[in-house]
């Protein structure tokens, strides 16, 4: 049996999602395949690749990390920002709250990351201006 590449698996799942196949069925197939072939450790990488293929097809899944829950207005603005940046037709946001970022927002989209958090800025301040 030929070993399927990660790219092929991701492409299959992404195409199915774009076509509008049942998500539940697709992900069940993927899970069964990974368990069967003993490649469950590659799950994160496959998900990343799926996101990448989806982005190529105009479907972007952006992960937003912030210190507080985002307001609807902010979410809308973020969605518009992601759309503009990726030229995507459809954007879905997955927001996470992490108080450690202190403030601001961190946007992760396939192949790119925009970190405008205060924690990041403070780290930059401490590292960039630190004398060696």
């Amino acid at each position: 049996m030929t070993r399927l590449s990660r790219r092929s698996i991701a492409e299959y799942v992404a195409n199915g999602l774009v076509k509008g196949d049942s998500k539940k069925e697709l992900f069940s197939q993927l899970a069964a395949f990974l368990i069967d072939t003993g490649r469950t450790k590659e799950l994160n990488l496959i998900v990343r690749d799926i996101e990448y293929f989806l982005a190529e097809n105009g479907v972007v899944n952006a992960t937003i990390i912030s210190a507080y829950e985002l307001t609807a207005e902010t979410k809308k603005a973020l969605e518009a920002f992601v759309k503009k940046e990726t030229n995507a037709n459809h954007v879905s946001l997955s927001s996470m709250v992490e108080p450690a970022v202190l403030g601001g927002v961190k946007i992760s989209i396939p192949g790119r990351e925009v970190d405008q958090t205060i924690a990041r800025q403070l780290t930059v301040l401490k590292t960039r201006f630190k004398k060696v």
């Binding site: 912030s66 210190a67 507080y68 829950e69 985002l70 307001t71 207005e73 902010t74 603005a77 973020l78 920002f81 503009k84 108080p99 202190l102 403030g103 601001g104 927002v105 925009v114 405008q116 205060i118 924690a119 403070l122 780290t123 301040l125 401490k126 201006f129 630190k130 004398k131």
Partner: protein, 179 residues
């Protein structure tokens, strides 16, 4: 004349009488003279040459010794002069050596002083450099610590002061800036 004849006759008589009066036997005397002459001849022939030879040899030895003494004296005088000359030369050389040694010691002392001064200046310069480096390092450490503290303080202040509304505004600004 009478007087002379009388004297001559008296003398002959007297001679005979004189030897007799003196107790000398003229025959014995003649014998003794002959023995003496024989002795003289024998001495002159056998003893005197040997004696003279010894005396001559002795004299030659003495003269030789005198010559040797004179030569030795002369040699001693010559040596004395040579020794005096050598001493003079030695004194001169000693004086030159002392003078050179003094000069060299003075030069060595001067060189040592210069070297010591140079080393001390180098030590001072190194100490200054080290001090400057230490100060620079201390400043750097202080700066970095201050930066760290400022960061920490800012984190604390922001964590307390930033609310949801301010965060939303901040996000809006960030989006605007990133666009």
């Amino acid at each position: 004349m009478t007087f002379l004849s009388q004297f001559a006759s008296e003398t002959t008589t007297v001679d005979k009488d004189l030897f007799a009066a003196l107790g000398i036997d003229w025959r014995l005397l003649i014998l003794q003279i002959i023995a003496f002459l024989i002795l003289v001849v024998l001495l002159g022939k056998f003893v005197y040459p040997w004696l003279m030879k010894s005396v001559d040899e002795r004299q030659a030895g003495i003269e030789e010794a005198a010559k040797a003494t004179a030569a030795a004296q002369k040699a001693a005088e010559d040596n004395k002069a040579a020794v005096a000359e050598l001493l003079t030369e030695a004194r001169k050389q000693a004086a030159e050596i002392i003078s050179t040694a003094r000069l060299e010691s003075a030069e060595t002392l001067s060189a040592s002083e210069k070297k010591a001064q140079k080393i001390s200046e180098q030590i001072v310069a190194n100490a200054h450099d080290q001090l400057d480096k230490d100060v620079a390092n201390a400043r750097k450490v202080l700066y970095n610590d201050t930066l760290e503290l400022v960061g920490l303080a800012t984190e604390k202040v922001i964590a307390k002061k930033l609310d949801k509304k301010a965060d939303s505004e901040l996000i809006a600004e960030a989006i605007k800036a990133s666009s």
